[in-house]
Symmetry: D2
Subunit: 342 residues, 4 copies
């Protein structure tokens, strides 16, 4: 693996900067040829990291003759267009989640990737978190037996501004989508049905535009397992990311990460530290491992660890969840996939 | 409180023996006048504990002139008849759960208790477990803020024989009923709606008679909180009894109890002990505290800590849960309570 | 084991009441024939528990023709005289710790017990605590390998009054003696040398009469292991009783017990419960198991689990510790045992 | 702080590579001008990281006109000569531990640093570990009250080869020296006396050259606190780095770090992960924070967080510990410092 993968980065927002910085500092098998962002002020970040070429036009990255793989960190509506364009240029693609909010667009991307025989990997970084990845390893090693019950707790420390929520696509496609992917990853089976009970308990005003901030989501899996996700936009004690899988041979659970292992006892009791504040802290390493996996899969021609089908299913579960909330009933995934060849 | 409450015990099966033994050894403010069991072989247990009078007829206990309170530990179908008869004799009643599997019978018992102005307390012993009771105390002290999400994990170490399951009344009234009561207790608000997803993953044959052994139950509360219970009849690692309440000001969780606090490290990792095996071990103290509360409420004329209404609601949720499972939809509690004055 | 052991209890102070109450309520294979206390006001406690005969004279217990075993809970100076007298009457003896503060007296007791062929068991109750007993089981099962390092933390929640400390015999014979016994029990080897560093950091005035309230004690064992005990008379967060054994194959540690398993998270962090307050709460079950072992060893003619030699060694280590503190040097146990046939 | 500190690195062994890599990737306020190593094969490492100039002669680094600060990662015997030479060139110095194994040499370095008015910081990286640093913060904030007892557990996963041990300077100056520095750091008071009990329980053959592999070390502090360190060269379950400080107002303890937070339950019990394997994993972040502190102290003219006096005291405690082991007695630090002006 002496070769270095020549990459180009599209989008230098928060997540684009994380990926670019990781590429420069932590990926000995990658180099960055060019980076783009519509706003020229972002270019300094790339130049300071030693990137030679910057541009405001994403297609300069996609069409650059030296670029072998593009890292797509643009806003969601551009994910599929850039993916399709890059595929046609025979470039491999790492794309941030979600691939798209409609199943049709995802199919289009999937088609382009298949026809042009390139790799597409989606940035579901949590799969690469040591806690969750090691739970999956136990399931694969049959240490849990047949999975019966999956529990995911996923709560943010604070909600985004209401203005953002209005354009977020709703809690399921904006926030829970990570948990939908995690559920499929841990159990290793497709979700067939979704039931949601939810409410706007933190910001009642967001109900006006059909959104909620607190949800309990029941998932049924093809292999018989039943899953439950609980989501909240506001856990005052910090970013709460835990899960548990229970099966015929045992149970495994992953607890939160904290900044230290201290316990302090005084006459009021024992006191321990808060969970790491938010996703940048909690998933710092996971982002790195995730991107490394992409570079490894391209350079060594391995299957993509998170492909278009994974993106399709996560979005389909999100659409079904919204339908369940709106219609107050359990919704089969096949209802939303009816026109799609899964 | 120098007075001793004169009690009589009806039923000397497993749970009757626990209560009788606790009365004799641990209740300085109670004495046992008489005990009954249809099977004379059980009488030796009471006699060995120093009970002076035994009988095969429960009405000998109910009608005994010295008895002030009866402890009803008979099979479920006799709970209401004995409760009604005891109430008419102006005796206070401690009755094992469930009070009955029909709401009509529970109303009948409630009516007799009210008309005769006696105390009725139901044996929902888990409310008196230190872990759960202390969580409730935090909720009452507003340390959690407004409750948003409740999670209960309740898994048995091993299923009863299939023969027992056939007559058990189904998982909801036999096993989950404790969790329904716990949910109302912890959140401090009524359940208004139930949705169930369940399956027979351990013993598929029990589906034939409409039962399941694995369930995820979503509860909606009047105050807006959403709850989720996960049940399994078989956790190979032992009796798993945990819960968590999450709200606007924080979160509290109660973990399992273990026989010791050991951690043993070898080159494979850290190893800790199993949860206490089953309900007799886990709730040993809770049974005692529960019965003590009854004696205290009678002797000091306090309200019953767990009254007929609590029994009614737990059973109603159980009936609604079965309806949800059968009909594959969310069921409002008001549907099953329509004929009842709650 | 249908037979019941006929016992007599000497001394109805705090610990005497615990043992008497346990005998009556929890020892189906024992009965109490008679109880004594110099102060007649204590007699009511025994009478209320159904003991038929009470006396102010300990010798009425020792000489009672029906008594087969005496439970000695008198002040320490009477331990040996009563033990010797009981042995001569061919009565088995359960005696509270310490057997005595001088090695000569302990030898005298040991001789009487041997010559009269009766059982003597000392009340080192902590050996019967589930945490510590299960650590010992791991050591015996060779899960730890050869023991290298032992760590015992033993801290009281609050010091006794200075007036008591003056007559206590000093921290080593009053408090650390339990830890000396625990050290020998866990490691399974004799202590050969002691070094102490200590100070009066809580009540400096107790230095006047040669006592301390904070100590670090280094023990050397015959098998090569090295142990360290840390003692404090005042841990504001409660009774702190932990230990850890480290060896060639691994490590095992026992943590404190708490009243519940709660963790409460708010925006300040996680909060857990205090350790159980003091020895009555922490060792409630251990007292019971300890006494049961005595009854079992007598009725079934098993060796005493904690015999005169154990008492001798614990006291010898205590004497050596005091010598180390006074002389500021490491002291060999053989120095204080020189006149004794160990 | 827009300025970048111009540094030169001396020594490209394991620790030199860590520091160089951290300087290049993680120190936006530093740049590396030149690096040296006697072995030219090591130079590729620096060149690959973009360092422009490499040399086999450390004095090329020290005398380089652009270098403002040197990072000394050479073998221990060169620490003081390079420190003195650099100080005379008015260069600031970051030097690996121990500064030297003799107090005279340390004094010489201290004198040069003071006379030339440059900063000297020693690489006691563990002070910058989040766990230990946060314990110190609690002590400083008076959350523990007056410190009474300090406990440090410091055990390596596996001993170095016996050949290395022969030239290591002994366990105290090679391994425990970190713990001596930690003890002074946490308690915030000078050590006045040392007592050691130790043995070669893992490799008995190392006793031939006066070394041991298992030790319990008692420290007495000026402020009255008593400390105890337990060291082992071989903990089969991994790198064991914990500490606990106990005082008049409470207690704080830092547990080990693990690669994940998993707990896996099967019918044998609960299973958790091993501690992080060794110092490279456990202190990865601490190395970075440590070096950042040096750059910050130079650029912003702050006092050195770990200065020559700290190096002197750690070495003095190590010398006293060896004296205690050899002479079998408690040794005052003043005995080994007698010729030194502390």
């Amino acid at each position: 693996m002496a070769k270095k993968l020549k990459t180009g980065v599209i989008g230098l927002g928060r997540i684009g900067q994380i990926h670019l910085s990781n590429l420069v500092h932590h990926m000995p098998h990658a180099e960055v040829i060019i980076a783009s962002d519509v706003s020229p002020e972002s270019h300094a970040f790339a130049l300071n990291l030693g990137v030679k070429e910057v541009t405001t036009d994403a297609y300069d990255v996609i069409n650059h003759p030296d670029v072998e793989a593009v890292i797509v960190c643009s806003p969601t509506p551009f994910h599929v267009p850039y993916t399709v364009a890059a595929a046609r240029q025979k470039k491999h693609i790492f794309c941030e989640k979600p691939l798209d909010v409609t199943l049709e667009a995802i199919h289009e991307a999937e088609k382009a990737v298949t026809e042009n025989n390139v790799k597409l990997m989606l940035g579901f970084n949590r799969r690469f978190d040591a806690n969750f990845n090691n739970v999956r390893t136990l399931v694969e090693a049959n240490k849990i037996g047949d999975p019966h019950i999956l529990r995911i707790t996923s709560r943010d420390p604070a909600p985004p501004p209401v203005e953002y929520l209005k354009i977020s696509g709703g809690i399921f496609l904006d926030m829970s989508i990570h948990d939908f992917d995690m559920a499929r990853f841990i159990v290793g089976s497709e979700v067939t049905e979704v039931f949601v009970k939810g409410d706007a308990l933190i910001h009642p005003e967001i109900k006006e535009f059909g959104d909620i901030d607190t949800a309990v989501i029941v998932l049924t899996f093809e292999n018989g397992a039943i899953g439950v996700i609980d989501n909240s936009r506001k856990a005052v004690y910090g970013y709460d990311q835990r899960l548990e899988i229970f099966g015929s041979k045992g149970m495994a659970k992953a607890e939160n990460n904290t900044a230290d292992t201290l316990i302090h006892f005084d006459d009021n009791g024992g006191h321990s530290s808060l969970p790491l504040h938010f996703f940048l802290e909690r998933y710092e390493t996971a982002y790195r491992v995730c991107l490394k996996s992409f570079i490894d899969c391209v350079l060594n021609d391995k299957p993509s660890p998170v492909d278009a089908h994974d993106g399709l299913m996560a979005t389909a579960i999100g659409i079904a969840a919204m339908k369940s909330l709106t219609e107050g009933r359990s919704v089969k995934i096949s209802e939303v996939l009816q026109y799609a060849e899964v």
